[in-house]
Structures are given as structure tokens and as C-alpha cells.
Symmetry: C2
Subunit: 303 residues, 2 copies
């Protein structure tokens, strides 16, 4: 199928075309550049990033949010960003189970994306899938990360709102990463609210949130497993989404800028990977010969 | 202290100077460039990368290897690379415990490095710490990663040998990531050898290893907890290290090239982060105004 025909099919909401288009941009095959150029500016879809440490129940929570939005009649896409190295297996199995559960629902589209290499491919692909889902008319795209590393930072940039999912018992870790943690969330979710320490964690987070100068953030206690508190969480997300619907320019720009930056970063890294190999071989030889230090060789390679 | 004086102290094996030097290059403060330039080509230290999925017991295994090398009278550095996002807490606490255990041993130097942002700072810092530990006369530097994401890939490049630590029960994941997994390891370690399925996993891995065309790899079963099999593992690592000691040019170049590439990548990303912000704001505005697609804006930003 030609890129322009594929783009038209995506815009008509053809699921098969969407799946094909996503594969095309993920693999960067011929026609992917033309396909992406033919997409209009992304403004329709609300991008919700969900992040937090492993084991806090993000997938279950995303499932609850999916149900929340489906009850409202909204079309929801889910991108499970799995910065899997070739070494770890990642969350693929869990996603397959989730996909099966929603297989009958044509207004839900779930895509798992695993990065199998360096080169910035993941950040680029995530931005591109958001654009495609936007073109396909999805109301919400939820981006879920595994909660470790670079991909979590990247998801902050492309989202209109970021949920940071925590749970009782993470106390020490939260202390350790307090500064950074408080920079990224729009809503802090204390999941597994039946566990001891949940209320104390909420109080602690509320104190931190009150100390924020440049922006506001909410704290919500939920049990994704039982569904308790999910309604309240949904409402605090809706408060942000309503701004997007009202055409809040700053909010629209936030996600667009993030997509531009992440796509550019991915492009740069891929270009670097292609160009650097033979030059790096030569420079490494010069380091070994004692002609250059590693740092000097690296500076030359970066040029 | 002047960079040249600091470098001399590092070369004399002064631990305090080494710690200062590492902090200096990690923070990229003034003098760090001069310090790095003053380092000679890294050839002495054997760099051992240890990676694998979370929960496979890498830290315990690294501790065993530390003991293995200390019994041989070798000086060992450990770099725990923790690609912690601001969001997850990471393995810092575990490292503090480990550090306390070896606090009295002046021939062990343990450093935990957490990345708190994007920008490629971690890969660059890891390479630089290797260079500093080499200058300080360490025989072995063990680089341990948490087993998810980009940092794992990067560690492969800078290492002379890579251990991939697995455990029984990962079967499915191993299947999923088979292709990538088999690209990186020099030694595949089946840890927790007392668990059911350990032997089957060894057989499975041996089959995969035999299928490798471009290189050889070993498979070793251990129990890091009890110490069983650690001696045999140590021997298969020593087989690789002996090549380095014999001056194997290819092996020396492997790590040097990795350091050059990762340092250059880090430099590029940091430069990109500094330069791109205002330009990205402007380009995002043009996307919102419908003048550019995200992909076009990204291409301009990448230039």
C-alpha cells in the first residue's frame, strides 16, 4: 500500500492499516518518512504517561483506566514501552494477556514496543505511534513504561499528563529519589492502598507536592486490584484533559515539543550509530598506539 | 588540587584522589577535561561486564567474583551502573551494604553510579571511571548493571568480557529475547543452580552457544548464594583475561573502542540537550500552527 493510501486508511480508523503503519514506522522501512510527513499536527489525542518503579502495579492500573475511559465511550490506545535490552525479556507476556482480554473491543488498541538496541529507536517510535493513533482518532493514548531508565524520562516529555505510580513500602527509595521524582508527576498515585503505610505515604507526598513552586500536582490513593479510588483518579486526570479539550496552548505545545525532541534525539543516535563504526575503529587504534587519549578520540568522533 | 597533581595521586594509587577524580568527571566540573586528557591509554585493567535480568542475583555473584579475585591477590574495582530514573529508587541501598562489607579492604574500590537524567551522562561517566581505575592500577573492573535498558547495551561495548546472568524460570523470556541475548555474552551464567530447571537451562544455552558463528561463549552453572560453581566461573573468565594479559590486540581494541564510542555518544547527547531547547520551542510552535509535521520539525532540530 502506498504511504498516502495507508495514511488515508489510518485516518478512516482502519485498525489493520494502523497496525501496518505502526510496524512500518517502527522498522523505518521505505515509505515511513512519507507516511509521517503526511500526518497532520497532533492535537486531538490526550497523551497520558504512566510510570513508576517496577512492581507498583502499573499494568493493572492502566487496565482500570482503560475501563474508566471505555465507560465514557472514548477510544483508547495503549503503548507499553518496554526498554528491554536484548538481555532481559521484559513484559511482553503480560501484554499478550492484556491484549487478549480486549481483543473484542474495536475501540481499544494495544501495542507493545520493545527496544532491542541502542540508537534511540524507542523514543522516536513512541512519538510516531502517538502521531498515528492521533490520526486514527483515538481520544486517549496511554503510554506505560517499566519504570527504569531513560524511557521513563522520555515519556514525560511526550505526555500531556504524567502519572507516577508508587506503593507503600517504597519509603526509602522515595527519599533517595525525592528531588527527581517530584519533577515529573502531574498525579502521584499511591497504589495498593490496602497495604500498611498507604496513608502515611499520601501525607508525605502531599507535603512534597505543596512544596512545588512551578506547578501543581495531585495525590490519589487507589487499589488497582479492587478498583477503589480509580474513579477519583480518573477525575483528576480529566481535570487536565479538559484543559487540552479547551485548547490550552501550553499543554498542546508540551507534548508536541516532546515528540519533536525525542524524534530528533532518536534520529541523531541512529545517524551516529551508522556513521561512527569505521571511524571508531581507526580512533581506537590511535588510542591503543598511545597517540590519543580516550577523551580526545571521543571528541573527534563526536564531531 | 590541580588536574595534573590529581592524576599523579590517582596513579600512585591514592584512594581519596581516585574518589575525588571520579566525582570530578561524573560532575563534569572544571578540570575534568584536563584530568582525562592526562590519562594514558587504558591497557592494564580487565573490564568485566555483568548483566542480566533483574532478580537473577547479579550483586551476590559480583560479590563472589570479588572474593575470587581478592584471593588471587588482585585489586578489584566495582562500578554498579544504575540507570535509575528520577522515578525508581534503584539499587543504591544494596550497594551501601556491600560497600560497608569491604570497607576495610584497601584493594577493593566500589562505586555506585546512578543516572538521574537523559543526556548520555551515564555511558560517558562509566568509560571515564574505567580509565581512572586503570590509571590507579586496578587489575579488574567489574561493571554491574541492573539488567534493563540502554545501560546494558553500553556495558557490552566497554567490556573485555560480558557475563550474562540468568536463572531457571526465565525460560519464556529467554525464548523471547533469544536472538538479542545470544549476541552479547562471553559467559552465560545460570545462577540459582539449586532451582528446578537449572540443568535444562544449561542444555538449552549450550545448544544456542554452539550455534554461534562469529565467536565462542561458555555456559556455567553457579549458586552465588552458596558459592557452588564460582571457581569454575572464575576459570572461564580467566581464560579470557589471560588473552588480555598476553596482549591480544583485538581484545584491547574492543574495550577502547567501546569507551570512545560511549564517551562520544554521551558528549553528543549532552550537547543536543543544551542546544535544542529554545529551537525545539520554536519548532513545536510551527507544528502547532500546522506549518510543519512533527517529523519535519524533528529533522530540522537534528541538524
Amino acid at each position: 500500500m502506498k504511504p498516502s493510501a495507508l495514511a488515508s486508511s489510518v485516518r478512516r480508523g482502519d485498525r489493520r492499516a494502523l497496525a501496518m503503519a505502526i510496524s512500518l514506522v517502527e522498522n523505518g522501512g521505505p515509505g515511513s518518512a512519507a507516511l509521517l510527513r503526511s500526518l497532520k499536527r497532533p492535537t486531538r489525542t490526550f497523551v497520558l504517561g504512566v510510570t513508576g518503579p517496577p512492581g507498583t502495579g502499573k499494568s493493572t492500573l492502566v487496565d482500570r483506566l482503560l475501563q474508566f475511559y471505555r465507560k465514557m465511550g472514548l477510544r483508547v490506545g495503549v503503548v507499553a514501552v518496554d526498554p528491554t535490552s536484548p538481555i532481559s525479556g521484559g513484559a511482553l507476556l503480560g501484554d499478550r494477556i492484556r491484549m487478549a482480554r480486549h481483543a473484542g473491543d474495536r475501540d481499544v488498541f494495544i501495542r507493545s514496543m520493545a527496544s532491542r538496541g541502542w540508537s534511540g529507536g524507542l523514543s522516536r517510535a513512541t512519538s510516531q505511534v502517538i502521531q498515528l493513533m492521533d490520526a486514527a482518532g483515538f481520544d486517549i493514548v496511554i503510554i506505560e513504561t517499566v519504570g527504569i531508565g531513560q524511557a521513563d524520562i522520555e515519556v514525560v516529555g511526550v505526555s500531556h499528563a504524567v502519572l507516577v505510580v508508587l506503593m507503600p513500602g517504597l519509603g526509602d527509595d522515595v527519599q533517595v529519589s525525592k528531588a527527581g521524582l517530584m519533577e515529573v508527576g502531574d498525579v502521584y498515585v499511591v497504589n495498593k492502598s490496602d497495604l500498611e503505610g498507604a496513608d502515611a505515604m499520601v501525607v508525605n507526598l502531599l507535603g512534597l507536592v505543596r512544596g512545588l513552586k512551578s506547578r501543581s500536582a495531585a495525590v490519589v490513593k487507589v487499589s488497582a486490584a479492587s478498583g477503589d479510588g480509580v474513579e477519583a483518579l480518573g477525575k483528576s486526570i480529566e481535570a487536565i484533559r479538559s484543559k487540552l479539550k479547551a485548547g490550552d496552548r501550553e499543554l498542546m505545545l508540551r507534548s508536541i515539543k516532546g515528540m519533536v525532541v525525542e524524534t530528533a534525539r532518536g534520529e541523531l543516535m541512529q545517524k551516529f550509530g551508522r556513521l561512527s563504526d569505521s571511524k571508531a575503529d581507526r580512533l581506537a587504534g590511535e588510542v591503543l598506539a598511545g597517540k590519543l587519549s580516550v577523551s580526545e578520540a571521543a571528541s573527534r568522533l563526536a564531531k
